[in-house]
Amino acid sequence: MRNAFALEVTELAAKDERIVLLSGDIGNRLFDDYKALYPGRFLNTGVAEANMVSVAAGMALCGLRPVVYTITPFVTTRCLEQIRVDVCYQNLAVTLVGVGGGLSYASLGATHHSCEDLAFMRALPHMRVVCPGDAVEVRLALREALASETPVYIRLGKRGEPVIHEQTPEFEIGKGIVVRPGTDVCLLATGNMLPGAVRAADELAKSGISAQVVSFHTVKPLDGRLLGEVFSRYSAVVSVEEHSILGGLGGGIAEWLSDHPGQRARFRRIGTADTFMHDAGEQEYAREYFGLTPERIAEKARQLYQAADSGLRAQVRN
C-alpha cells in the first residue's frame, strides 16, 4: 500500500500543481521520484507533527492541496488538536495519510500501534475516514481525496499486502465494494483486514458456510444503503478491522444499528480488545494475540451464524 501511495501521489502531482507532499521525516527513498520531479512541492517537515498539520492547513487556506504523510499514530493522535482546529474546523482540503495502520508496525511496540485512530478521526466534524483494502484502493482513494474540497484521512497498511482487486473496481468514498459473493453471512472488512476476511471466507466455506466479503473501506461516512441491504439479507453480519472494537468500523455500525432498529441480522464486532499489547512480536503475532487471524475470524462468524440460524428456526417454530 505504501508504494502504491508513493506512485499515485507522484502521478497526481504531475496533473495538479496544487498538490504538495509533506513528510514527517519518514519514507526514506520512497519519494525519490516525486522529489526529483517536484522538489519545490515536497517538504520534510521534521519530527514535528503539530507544526506539520498546521502548515498544511495554512497551505490549504491559500488554495494548495497538501498531503500529510507519516506513521499512523503520529499523523492522528499526536497532532489531533491541530487536525481538529486547523483542518476540520476550517474545513480545508487537507489529506492526511497514515502508514502502518493498526498493528502493521507491531514489533515497534504499542507506541507505533494505532488501534484508536479511527475513533478519533471519526469523531471530527467534516472528516472523512478511508481505510483502503489493498494497493488498488489506495490509489483510487487518494485520487478522490485530492479531487475533493474537504478533509480526508487515509489509513494505509505497510507494504506487500495481497492485492484483492484483479480489476479496477468502481470506487467511491462512502460506498463499500463487494469483493466476494456469498449467501449465509456477510463479512464487512476495512483496510488491511480485507485479505484476512477473504481468507476467513475460505475457512467458512470449508464448513459449508457461504460468506460475502465487502471491502468497507470508508469508515465515515458509513455506507448506510449497503448496511441496510446486508442487515436485511443475511442473518449474521460481522465487522472486521485492525482497530479497537470501540469507535471504529464496528463501533460505527453499532451506532447505525441503534438508529435503525429491527434488523434481521445479528451483528458482531471483530477487532482489537480495549487494551495495549505489551509483548514483543510482529504483526502476525499481534493478530493472533487479538484474535484477528482468518481462522479466529471464521470461528467467530460461524458461532454468530449458528446462533442466528437457531434463533431464526426457534422463531419459525413459535
Partner: protein
Amino acid sequence: MSHKAGTPHLGSSLSCVDILVAVYWGTLDIDPEKPQDPYRDRFILSKGHAASTLYATLAHRGFFPIEELRTFAEAGGKLAEQPSPGCMPGVEAATGSLGHGLSLGLGMALAGRIQGHSFRVFVAMSDGECNEGSVWEAAMFAPAHELDSVAVIIDYNKWQATGKSDDVMALRPLRQKWEAFGWSAYEVDGHDMGALVDAVRNVPDGSGKPVAIVAHTVKGKGISFMEDDNNWHYRSPDAGELQRAKAELGLS
C-alpha cells in the same frame, strides 16, 4: 464591546491594540475591497482571545461596517469571542487555541513561495502562548526554509491567565531565544507607534531569516485602573468602570 457582551480577555485585547494598528495601517498591503486577493499580505491573530481588537481593527480599516461591532458575542452573531472560520471579511484564520497561528502562517508563506506570490505574513502571538511546544516546532521550521517573508510579533505583556509569564515558564530571555532558533529578532516598545511601524515595515529585513519582534507591552494598556492588573484577564467592566475608561480615553 467587553462591557456590553460581558466578555473576558479585555486586558489581553488592550495590550495588542497598538500592534494591530501598526500592522494594519503601517505596513500590510491589503485592499478591504478585495479581502480574498491571492497577492494580499496576511495577518493572523494567533492569540484569538483578543478577537475584539481584531474585529475593531478590521472594521475601522474598512473590511466591514463599524456598526457590526455592536453584535460582538451576541447569540447567533458572527463575531464570536474568538474568531470562527471566515466569520468576517479580513479574518484570515480561525484561532483561539494557542500555538496554531504561527504554523498556519508558515504554511501560507510556503504556499506563496510555491505559487510565486511575494506576499508577507504577520502573526501576533501572546507571551503565554510561547508555553506551547508547537510554537517552538514552528520556530525551528521557519528558518530551515528561510521564510523571511514571515514575521512573528509577540505581545509581551508579562502576564498569562493566572500568573507572570516569566515565572510560569522560563520565558526570559525571549528575544535571544528566537535569535537562537535562527530568527532575526528585535525588541521594541510595543506602545511606541513609531518604533512598531519601523519594525513591521522592515519585513523582510534582508537577513534571509524570518523576523521575530518582541514587543514589550502593558496588559490593559490605556486604562489606568486596568494596566498591569491581571484581574482584567477575566473581568469585564461594569457601567461605572466603562464611564471612567471612556473619560480616560477622551471618548464621549
